[in-house]
């Protein structure tokens, strides 16, 4: 599964492609009240399939700032193939 609810936590995969992100957006947009954290299930990050996933995660964060998304909250993510990714959100 590319996204899966586990209680009030949502587990997602970086394997999502654009069409999966569209479904993910459709799925989550009315369920934010019931989600408290979003975790990326991969232990190590190598690559990502679409940047649309990242902007969706940021959008979720902008909509519900209290929601925990370590992948975004940490401000930096290291990808094995793509180096250090830094989020700039002023």
């Amino acid at each position: 599964m590319l996204f899966e609810v586990d209680g009030d936590q949502l587990n997602i995969s970086l394997e999502m492609e654009l069409d999966d992100v569209v479904k993910f957006h459709e799925f989550i947009k009315d369920k934010l009240d019931y989600i408290e954290a979003i975790h990326v299930e991969e232990k190590e990050f190598t690559i990502f399939r679409t940047s649309a996933l990242f902007q969706l995660l940021v959008s979720i964060k902008n909509t519900k700032p209290s929601l925990s998304i370590p992948f975004i909250d940490n401000a930096e993510v290291e990808f094995k193939d793509y180096g250090l990714v830094k989020w700039v959100m002023q």
Binding site: E17, L18, D19, V21, V22, K23, F24, H25, E26, I28, K29, L32, I47, F48, R49, T50, S51, A52, F54, Q55, L56, V58, S59, I60, N62, T63, D81, Y82, G83, L84, V85, K86, W87, V88, M89, Q90
Partner: protein, 721 residues
């Protein structure tokens, strides 16, 4: 490739885009729920904007930018698009056409209506986005446009000195450091581009050390369209041993404003100043170009000694599947089509065609050569036969290169119908049939004007004056105009028909007599009477409208079609409608001709004009005092034109019943050409006449025969007055 060559490519591609704009708008009007059409339109306008600015066509860039904003508003809105908004779109396209001419032709005056249209677009934008007061004036919009680039400039400075030093320290020996600013447009996902694609390719070109993702303007989830890109800028530090050109190649399918590359550890700060050629998006047509470029890369790799992988080209990312909400993203999937296309200068095609013409002539030489004919060697004859077959095959294939579907020409007529029906306030339904029929490309441009005139005439005069009149006549209030193309014999037939009131035969005849075109004493067939409406200055219209009624339109049709070596036939039934049929040869370069002999000279009569040929019996040939000779062919009296006399070849007067008569049909009616002998039918390659012969109006061209002699092609329209 120098800037001038790039400009030529821009002009060519921009022309193609502009030509398609109003067609797409009308398609969208017909199917307003189909956002794919609107997105397609937007992509065309977006490409035009980027390219226009690259070449300094600021007025075009400015106008197109605002138009793009309006389209963008509508493609992101569920608001129903009213007819007056479609009118605004179409008017904007007219202005774009005018501004394009202004820019390309270095004209001094912008098209009239430029500012007015721009104001209307601004007003529409303000109405659509009232909450955004910052977009209050055109100047503001213009500033915003300029700022597109400023944002980029500023963003590139948001890497700190520490960060720069940090990444520089991580360079390995022989590596250069590049700072890449990716600033993808909001529609990049639609176009098949995703940052992920570029990261993947860059990781093959070198090592991505770090990247800063500017995620400032991401909307909340309810306002977010996941298929739209909101990520402002991504600054990527790339360490690589490859050259800047190799890195630039990664982004070759992006618009030039969507990326910027700086070599950080280079002493000279190089800025790319050469405008990039139009980088069309990877939609249907462009996909094959990408394939070709990929082949080129492989070739380069094979020929190169350098042991490095050439960077792969960005391929469109995968798109939402069919069951996803958006239909917009389906287009790039067409890339999977196996067919590929190459753009070729038409001049090169013409040269190829000429060469094939020479080949056909050389083959005819061989076929006619007596020495070769006398060879009784089966092997030689078989080889010659194969050669002839291959020559024919090459000729057909080269011919097919010039053939294009008539669809584009028919599509343009949708706008003509829309405008004409609106002007005369009639409801019209356009039916298009046979749009895949192919026609010689050289004819396409010349065909538009005649079609426009006939269609306008059909809407204005052909159809009943009002809906009520149609209902009274027992018809649906919506009039039908049919455009149909098909092959007829060796020709192309294009029919323009309507189910209107039909031509009033008696009214046309009396008007023709009044105008001195026809005589009261003569009998005319229906076809001859209908052909009067195509005479210069002829109009039976009781009132003159903006679109027809001055009697100039249909005359233009005749002249235009004659230039294409074709002819127009008219059929009409009062109360039921009228049909114009344009008959055209398949190509202007080769015609089917009948070779005839007169006074020991060979002439060619286009087969299209010939009805029949025969040797008359003495009792059907008559001489009428002062009016010349006639032949009574099945109760129809046809004038006889002696070719040798007409062309002053000799003074001989052979008896018609000992000669051959070729019955032909011209705009003026049927007549019989008296020749000594029929030689046979042959396809001939038309060669233009030199200055000396071009004044002979009875001759339209020349052709080289198999024996090396030149035969003249007769201009049937001018043989009989």
């Amino acid at each position: 490739m120098n800037k001038e060559q790039l400009k030529q490519i821009f002009i060519e591609e921009a022309t193609e885009i502009i030509e398609q704009l109003d067609i797409k708008i009308i398609d969208f009007e017909e199917d307003p729920t189909n956002k794919d059409l609107l997105n397609d339109l937007f992509r065309g306008v977006h490409t035009l904007k980027g390219s226009a600015n690259s070449f300094g066509f600021s007025k075009l860039g400015e106008f197109v930018h605002h138009f793009e904003d309006l389209l963008d508003y509508h493609r992101n809105s569920d608001e129903e698009i009213a007819t007056d908004r479609i009118d605004l779109f179409l008017d904007a396209v007219d202005i774009i056409k005018g501004v394009f001419e202004f820019e390309v032709g270095n004209l001094t005056e912008l098209p009239s209506g430029y500012q007015d249209n721009l104001d209307k677009i601004q007003k529409a934008l303000n109405l659509g986005d009232e909450e955004d007061s910052s977009e209050g004036t055109l100047a503001d919009l213009s500033d915003e446009f300029d700022e597109d680039f400023d944002i980029e400039e500023q963003s590139s400075k948001t890497t700190t000195d520490n960060q720069n030093v940090n990444v520089q320290n991580r360079l390995e020996e022989g590596e250069s450091l590049f700072l890449i600013n990716l600033h993808l447009d909001t529609d990049s996902y639609f176009r098949g581009f995703d940052h992920a694609v570029f990261f993947k390719i860059l990781s093959q070109v070198g090592r991505i050390l770090e990247s800063n993702w500017h995620m400032n303007n991401i909307p909340t989830i309810q306002k977010l369209n996941p298929q739209e890109c909101y990520i402002q800028d991504i600054l990527i530090f790339l360490a690589t041993r490859q050259s800047k050109d190799d890195v630039l190649e990664v982004f070759e399918f992006l618009e030039e404003e969507e990326y910027k590359i700086e070599e950080l550890n280079s002493q000279e700060e190089q800025k790319e100043e050469t405008p990039a050629p139009i980088k069309e998006k990877p939609i249907v047509k462009e996909a094959p170009v990408q394939e070709i470029k990929e082949e080129k890369s492989v070739e380069k790799k094979q020929n190169s000694e350098v042991k490095k992988e050439p960077p792969a080209k960005p391929a469109p990312t995968s798109k939402p599947k069919e069951n996803s909400k958006s239909k917009i993203v389906k287009k790039p999937h067409k890339k999977e089509e196996k067919r590929s296309f190459v753009k070729i200068d038409t001049q090169k095609l013409d040269e190829l065609f000429d060469s094939v013409g020479e080949l056909v002539i050389a083959q005819n030489f061989l076929a006619e050569n007596k020495a070769i004919k006398d060879i009784e060697n089966e092997q030689v004859n078989k080889t010659l036969e194969t050669l002839f077959k291959i020559t024919k095959l090459i000729q057909n294939r080269v011919m097919s290169l010039r053939m294009v579907p008539i669809k584009d020409t028919f599509d343009k007529m949708k706008r003509v119908i829309r405008d004409a029906s609106k002007k005369v306030d009639k409801k019209v339904n356009l039916i298009i049939q046979g749009e895949d029929t192919e026609i010689d490309k050289t004819m396409v441009d010349s065909l538009s004007d005649p079609l426009i005139h006939i269609i306008r005439n059909a809407v204005d005069h052909g159809l009943e004056a009002s809906d009520e009149d149609r209902v009274k006549a027992g018809k649906n209030e919506i009039g039908n105009v049919t455009l149909r193309a098909y092959h007829k014999g060796g020709n192309i037939a294009i029919e323009i028909g309507e189910d209107g009131r039909g031509i009033n035969r008696d009214k046309v005849l009396s008007k023709a007599i009044e105008n001195g075109i026809a005589s009261e004493d003569e009998e005319y067939t229906d076809q001859q009477i209908y052909s009067f409406i195509m005479k210069p200055g002829f109009s039976t219209a009781d009132k003159i409208s903006d679109i027809s009624g001055r009697g100039v339109g249909l005359d233009v049709v005749n002249t235009g079609i004659e230039k294409l070596l074709g002819k127009v036939e008219i059929e009409s039934k009062e109360g039921e409608g009228t049909k114009f049929t344009i008959l055209l040869p398949l190509t202007l370069a080769i015609i089917d001709g009948m070779l005839v002999e007169s006074a020991d000279e060979i002439f060619i009569i286009p087969i299209l004009s010939i009805i029949e040929s025969f040797r008359p019996s003495e009792n059907i040939v008559h001489t009428v005092n002062k009016k010349g000779e006639f032949v009574n062919l099945r109760e129809e009296l046809l004038p006889i034109i002696r070719l040798n006399e007409k062309l002053d070849l000799n003074d001989k007067k052979p008896k018609p019943w000992e000669s051959t008569l070729v019955c032909v049909e011209s705009e003026k009616g049927k007549f019989a050409i008296l020749v000594d002998e029929l030689i046979g039918r042959q396809q001939v390659v038309i060669k233009p006449l030199g200055k000396a012969l071009s004044s002979l109006k009875e001759i339209s061209g020349g052709a080289i025969m198999g024996n090396g002699e030149i035969a003249l092609i007769l201009n049937i329209e001018e043989l009989h007055q």
